[in-house]
């Protein structure tokens, strides 16, 4: 069984997924960061594949993408870094990236490689649902990859149902009208949206992302979903870190407490 399914079968609440940018802050930090995220107690690791033009991301993740690219990261390099990672990492791992670098690598080759190294799922924010259904759904299934779609407060109930129908891992609830890292704190309007989606009784688990940074926002998000995703706040932690494994562990534990 896919590790993402196994996880949500046993853990329904306070699931923590951590996003980081591969090749940042230093090129060879990818594996040490993954080990530290697992050691800190998080449930899912999202490996960000850097791109020159990440339109859904705010300044923090943009900067990390630029630095990683300057460091010499590429999808090819990421797969080299991930080779053999399953000897050390047992929690689910998801690759998150924009479509163009993956298209250049070759979608089938990419999926095959993901399966080979032990990746469980994909989040491709600019892959439209219809395109996924028409072109890639069969391919993802063939290589044992679950696909996660995003929804936002603007997404209609009808489309949320369609997305739920075509998702097999978890649904990524974007917490507000925003790009990543834009806001902190959770407003009443956001709570209303969380409650609306919760009441829909979707088949997939839901994780809330964008604007989650500390134990307070993590707990609020978890009250209305199965857990949350932290990206920008985590990137800030590793950016200034002198001791990656210690700082990552401390940060994750401070969120989960």
């Amino acid at each position: 069984m896919n590790r993402i399914h196994t996880l949500f079968n046993t853990k329904k609440d306070r699931v923590l997924s951590i996003y980081f940018t591969a090749g940042f802050p230093k090129l060879e930090d990818t594996m040490p960061i993954m080990e530290a995220i697992q050691a800190g107690g998080a449930d899912i690791i999202e490996v960000g594949v850097p791109y020159s033009d990440p339109v859904a991301d705010g300044p923090t993740i943009q900067d990390s993408n630029m630095i990683a690219l300057e460091n010499g990261i590429s999808l090819k390099k990421i797969f080299e870094q991930l080779a053999g990672f399953r000897e050390k990492i047992h929690i689910p791992v998801v690759l998150m990236g924009y479509l163009n670098p993956i298209m250049q690598y070759g979608m089938e080759e990419f999926c095959k490689k993901c399966q080979e190294v032990g990746v469980d799922g994909l989040i491709l924010p600019d892959l439209p649902m219809q395109q996924f259904i028409d072109d890639y759904k069969g391919l993802f299934e063939h290589y044992g990859l679950v696909n996660t779609f995003l929804i936002s407060p603007q997404t209609s109930d009808k489309r949320i149902r369609e997305i739920d129908e075509n998702t097999s891992g978890f649904i990524y609830m974007v917490s507000s009208h925003s790009i990543t890292g834009a806001k902190s704190g959770i407003s009443e309007e956001q709570i209303a949206y969380f409650e609306r989606v919760k009441a829909m009784n979707l088949k997939n688990p839901r994780l809330i992302g964008f604007g989650i940074s500390d134990t307070e926002t993590f707990t609020t998000a978890s009250n209305y979903s199965n857990g949350a995703i932290i990206g920008s706040a985590f990137i800030k932690t590793v950016k200034d870190s002198k001791n990656l494994s210690e700082d990552i562990r401390d940060y994750i534990q401070s969120v989960m407490d």
Binding site: D53, P54, Q62
Partner: protein, 392 residues
Amino acid sequence: MIKVDEKGFYGRFGGAYIPEMLHPNVEELRESYEAIMASGEFQDEFRGLLKDYVGRPTPLYFASRLSEKFGAKIYLKREDLCHTGAHKVNNTIGQIILAKKLGKKRIIAETGAGQHGVATATVCALMGMECTIYMGEIDIARQHPNVERMKILGATVVPATSGSKTLKDATNEAMRAWINNPVDTHYIIGSVVGPHPYPEMVARFQSVISEEIKWQLQEKEGTENPDIVIACVGGGSNAAGAFYHYYNTPDVRLVAAEAGGLGVNSGKTAATTAKGTPGILHGSKTILMQTEDGQVVEPHSISAGLDYPGIGPVHAHLFDVGRGEFVAVEDKDAMAAGIELSRLEGIIPAIESAHAIYALNLIEYSKDDVIVINLSGRGDKDLDTYIKWGGY
């Protein structure tokens, strides 16, 4: 047949590759733009403003001295005489009326050289709408007069400080701003790029150019169809407008002049079809300049309006199926052509448009051929570049 399909594809290019957060906005536009544009009310307002505010129809001018020099019958479609100095305003007039019909209160736009930013700020002033323009930090420094024009017109100019700090990053910032303000804001994209329906919608607003060429040429030559239409291509909105009503008339050759920069193989170029490969940029599948890892490469052209790493999906399709002839015009040749046109016809062209003029040297034609060159903009904005270049 050159035609967009229901999913927004021209052949294998186009589509809407956007984050889900933009889906409701783009879907709203897709569902409503055709009906709104087809309504009599919209057409009356659009046509009225094009006539009385923009100054259309723009002349189709027989350039006798240029014709004599090149040995063909050359006409210039004078988009440079539009209000604000370029064809860009045809599209911003259309989109702002559309935005009003959709009940939007705010307008955002990207700009490179500032021409689209000025055309957007202009129509926002005209309609009394709030206007924010995203512009790369580097472009703000090198296109200062246009920044001030936008501010005089009441727009807020926000520097794009990410990435390479030029047009592609300004476009990224505008898309991010739209994600952050999805309900009350309309994003006026300035070229035939972006997610469906933008490329087709912008092309339709610009198609007034070829619509006029047809009847104007009928009056002058007794035929609607020239042998050749030439236009420059950055994203490609003026070319799409000049080609639109000729897409499916195979007798009319369509020539697209891309910016060769310092030379197609110099590493400093914006010749997208020469150096690019298929991929995704700003929400559509097209041809773009990128590394083998799929990272977008920063282009170079002396002309800020052509300094873009991709082309609109319709142009990628014209290239793909061989319907369009694509040539690359280097900086130095475009500058020389700009000065030549100034001396021969008393018209100082925008450097973008000068690329289209120089293309005459790169294509084959016969002595009796009727050639229409779309003179997309005037050179006032480029005076600094002309002065620094010298050679006149």
